[in-house]
């Protein structure tokens, strides 16, 4: 992944998570992955288009998803219902949109597609031809992995 794209994603993930969740947020070491990636239970996905094609995937366990949704709504949600799903989806949207805005300011023309949410126990993303950058973010609500796969258009 182009090095200029990395910081915007790392910074906005950190800033938004801190702003929206309010507690302590820590960033784990970045690494690259290129095998099929098992999803922890809840995956929010935002597509990228424009100068590049690709996607940003936010991966977390169901427990973390419920904790985050609860925190953002200011009340305890015990079921992963429509509201909880919309909340997690919105978090994905906020981070990706701010990263895209930052990249735009740097001269890169990115756009995003409306997000999608997937839940499931044994889901895998079969991306064996795409390399992804993994940014692990550890929050008080649990770990969220930001998984970015971007390919330049020729």
């Amino acid at each position: 992944m182009r090095v200029e794209y990395i910081n915007p994603f790392v910074e906005t993930a950190f800033n938004i998570l801190q702003e929206v969740l309010g507690g302590e947020v820590r960033r784990g070491d970045l690494y690259l992955k290129s095998t099929s990636m098992p999803v922890m239970g809840v995956a929010a996905l935002v597509g990228l288009a424009g100068d590049v094609e690709g996607r940003v995937l936010f991966d977390m366990t169901m427990e973390t998803a419920l904790n985050i949704a609860s925190k953002m709504n200011g009340e305890r949600l015990n079921e992963f219902d429509a509201l909880a799903k919309a909340t997690v989806t919105e978090l994905a949207n906020l981070i990706t949109a701010q990263a895209v805005t930052k990249l735009h300011d740097l001269g890169f023309r990115f756009d995003l597609t409306p997000p999608a949410l997937f839940t499931g126990d044994k889901m895998e993303i079969s991306d064996h031809e795409v390399e992804a950058l993994i940014v692990p973010m550890i929050t008080e609500q649990g770990k969220v992995e930001v998984n970015v796969a971007i390919r330049e258009h020729i």
Binding site: I16, V20, A82, T89, N93, A97, V100, T101, L112
Partner: protein, 144 residues
């Protein structure tokens, strides 16, 4: 995100959401996220605004506006939505009613989008994540 200390003391000043004649300002919220719609509705209702309807995509937003007009005073419009995006919906609404008051609410903060919306007739532009103070300020300014 919304906590008790965000609620202002009622006696300090009149709520933003009331017109001079005391009636509530009527708002149409257009956003594909029920979470954002809920957030906005909570912030605005707590200040006296009345949420008359919500819409989940641009097309529904335009249709609802046409239906409700003239019984709607303000529209909040998300940009990234399926079926019809917020910018296109804004165009349609302004074409239908040149006096429409639309405030864009988006996670995207690109300068060109802000400029484009304002040129198309939007009264203001709010960048998410939503901050209660900012929302009330910008929406308040739009309805004056």
């Amino acid at each position: 995100m919304i906590s008790k200390q965000d609620f202002p003391s009622i006696n300090e000043r009149p709520p933003e959401g009331l017109k001079d004649d005391g009636t509530k300002i009527r708002v149409l919220v257009v956003d594909d996220s029920i979470f954002v719609a809920k957030q906005l509705s909570q912030i605005l209702s707590s200040e006296g605004y009345e949420i008359v309807a919500t819409a989940e995509d641009g097309k529904e937003g335009v249709d609802k506006y046409k239906e409700l007009c003239p019984n709607v005073d303000l529209v909040t419009m998300d940009i990234t939505m399926p079926k019809m995006d917020g910018i296109t919906a804004l165009e349609h609404i302004m074409a239908f009613d040149k006096n429409a008051k639309v405030v864009m609410v988006s996670a995207l903060g690109k300068e060109e989008l802000v400029k484009k919306s304002l040129l198309l007739g939007a009264k203001n532009y709010i960048v998410k994540p939503l901050d209660r103070k900012k929302v009330l300020e910008r929406i308040g300014a739009a309805t004056k």
